[in-house]
């Protein structure tokens, strides 16, 4: 930890609330996020000492200056009175390998040093954040006795495909808790949980990058911390090229999920069904931005994978599964369909081989991408005309297939011991 940062924290001594904002070149949006956080803290926690902590990955676009500059000039526009304590701001670059997880680690460190009671983290590229998010993410911890608050959003029906097709159904089937957005990016957590996170030596792995969200959620559930979820409304990010970071994003998230499966194998083998977690917040309908999806390109990517990567996949999949994939690849674009049970079988098979280590792990995960895109293409085709509710039902049915086929995972996993 940088000395100046340590000194700044020691000067503050203690805080009740800590809000972390990890950032990297988010000058366009971070001002609005900081304003929403400050307003939310002043409005919902006027009597509490609060610190806003920006953990930056070395931005070159003036993100840190923007955080320092932003102030709410007139609290009367949003509040009945001024907050008792001024909100302290700390802006610091983080140490360690570049990535979201390293930024979070600095936030956990700050929470430990400041003995924070309740903490929250929010993405710095959010366009839909409101001051109410602070109440929703912090109050269950500050007053409700919870240790972990996961977000619940209204998103476009085709958004969050890694969450919907892998992370949510798999986490739910494994650990038996229905946390709908386990990698949502905006979380609340207790100081106690932050301290627990710091005891783990994972900061040189994919957890230090995109794997941090699922790692936090899984640890909170698996280690028996009191978890809930809160409805935050719409989630709209700053526009970016989604294709540019699919590879690292996908491999880092999935490797973290599979890695955690190895760590908690004794726990999840004993769990047979899932339970809902307490859910807070008022659920309301919001309009989400329309989006276009290039299904043909995804199907083409899948077909190329079947043509060229089958040699690797055969080391992972059962012969009948490989044969099934080949038959799907021969379907026309119009008839293309990637069944749920085939997808679940593939995820379980890849998790098993990741655990056994018989295929180089990085190659294994990267070779999954064409399969993932094939499944996403099929999902988009199936739900082209569906409403948001119908899409949710579709995801629910996928989750049930994951749960029903869990004995297949347990049996094959044991076979590799």
């Amino acid at each position: 930890m940088e000395q100046s940062f340590q000194i700044a924290l020691e000067e503050i001594k203690e805080t009740e609330i800590l809000v972390g904002i990890p950032s990297y070149n988010n000058a366009r949006t971070i001002g609005q996020v900081v304003r929403a956080v400050m307003a939310g803290l002043a409005k919902h926690f006027p009597g509490a000492k609060a610190v806003l902590f920006n953990s930056d990955g070395g931005s070159t676009d003036g993100t840190q200056d923007e955080v320092r500059r932003v102030q709410i000039e007139d609290f009367k526009t949003i509040l009945a009175s001024h907050p008792v304590y001024p909100i302290q701001k700390i802006v610091t670059p983080y140490d360690g390998i570049p990535g979201k997880g390293s930024a979070f680690r600095a936030i956990f460190e700050a929470a430990r040093i400041l003995k924070a009671k309740a903490c929250a983290v929010v993405d710095s590229d959010l366009r839909s954040i409101t001051p109410e998010w602070m109440e929703l993410l912090l109050m269950p911890i500050y007053e409700g006795g919870f240790d972990y608050v996961a977000p619940l959003y209204t998103r476009h029906k085709f958004d969050g495909t890694i969450t919907n097709s892998i992370v949510y159904p798999l986490t739910r089937a494994l650990y038996g808790k229905r946390v709908r957005q386990p990698i949502g990016g905006d979380f609340g957590f207790s100081g106690k949980l932050a301290e627990f996170y710091l005891t783990k030596n994972v900061w040189e792995t994919d957890v230090a990058r995109f794997g941090i969200d699922i790692w936090m959620t899984t640890l909170a559930i698996a280690e028996g911390f009191k978890a809930c979820q809160c409805y935050l409304g719409a989630k709209i990010h700053d526009a970016k090229d989604p294709g540019s970071d699919l590879g690292p994003m996908f491999t880092q998230v999935v490797s973290s999920v599979f890695g955690l499966m190895r760590e908690y194998q004794r726990l999840w083998k004993e769990i047979n069904e899932s339970q809902p977690v307490p859910t807070f917040g008022f659920h309301y309908e919001v309009g989400v931005e329309p989006m276009s999806v290039d299904v043909e390109r995804m199907i083409g990517h899948f077909r190329l994978g079947v043509k060229d990567l089958m040699e690797i996949w055969r080391k992972v999949l059962l012969p009948e599964t490989a044969h099934w994939l080949e038959s799907i690849a021969r379907l026309s674009d119009e008839a293309f369909s990637f069944p749920q049970d085939l997808w679940v079988r593939i995820i379980y098979d890849f998790a098993i081989v990741y655990h056994r280590g018989t295929v180089h792990r990085d190659h294994l995960l990267k070779s999954m991408i064409p399969l993932y895109l094939g499944r996403v293409a099929s999902f988009v085709k199936e739900n082209q005309k569906s409403s948001a509710g119908e899409v949710e039902e579709n995801i629910e049915s996928l989750c049930q297939v994951f749960e029903e086929m869990k004995p297949y995972l347990v049996e094959r996993w044991a076979g590799g011991e």
Partner: protein, 236 residues
């Protein structure tokens, strides 16, 4: 006459006895070396077998593609068994050579000296081949996956080309190290790869002008279109 005959026989017998008495300790030394050598070979085999099983070497071999190579070559044994047997036979071979050397027969001395001088080169060559193969498999697979994820139709061709390039390169290095037709090897390698590069340069520069133009056109067109974001799906 009888005396001469008796002395001749006696001298001959004494010489023979002298040779036998000189040879006998050597023979006993050889037998001892063989017994001890075979015992060490057996112990080494057992220890290696247990060690490789403990570190799950078969699993590592499967990951690196060794198992597939062995099974393709018709080998029915696991890499663990093969390696332990290999070292068993290496020790046996060394034992035999030491045993023969112990006999102190002039004809074998020279051969054995040469053999031991050559042994380090042989091991270095084997090491070069093994490492070369591992690197070839790893890079070939990495390029194949990266190519497919970049949606390159020629990913498999590119992957095989890289794999074979590294295998041939390591084979060349191994043969060079063994001192087998050094100059011929270097010249053949230079001509082959120089020829391939020249052929590719001509093919792309002349024969594939239109293809290259199309490729670049499409590449930049796609890049331009991407900025407008035809596919706006957010994966997380």
């Amino acid at each position: 006459m009888g005396e001469v005959w008796r002395v001749a026989i006696s001298d001959s017998f004494n010489k023979f006895l002298g040779k036998v008495l000189t040879f006998l300790p050597n023979l006993l030394a050889m037998i001892t070396i063989l017994i001890v050598g075979f015992f060490i070979a057996w112990v080494l085999k057992v220890v290696l077998l247990r060690f490789l099983k403990a570190i799950q070497f078969d699993r590592v071999s499967e990951r690196w593609g060794f198992s597939q190579v062995f099974s393709r070559g018709g080998m029915a044994y696991s890499p663990t068994i093969l390696i332990s047997r290999f070292f068993f036979w290496v020790v046996v071979l060394i034992t035999l050579i030491l045993g023969i050397n112990a006999l102190e027969v002039a004809a074998t001395q020279n051969f054995i000296t040469h053999f031991f001088n050559y042994l380090p080169h042989l091991f270095a060559a084997i090491l070069i081949l093994v490492v070369g193969y591992l690197v070839a498999v790893f890079l070939g697979q990495a390029i194949l996956i990266a190519g497919v994820n970049a949606q390159m139709e020629s990913a498999k061709f590119l992957s095989r080309a890289v794999r074979w390039f590294i295998i041939v390169l390591s084979l060349t290095m191994a043969l060079y190290h063994l001192g087998i037709a050094e100059k011929v090897i270097i010249v053949a390698f230079t001509i082959t790869f120089g020829g391939i590069v020249l052929a590719l340069a001509i093919a792309f520069g002349w024969g594939g002008r239109e293809l290259a133009k199309d490729f670049l056109d499409r590449h930049y067109k796609e890049k331009g279109e991407k900025k407008e974001g035809p596919d706006q799906i957010s994966h997380i």
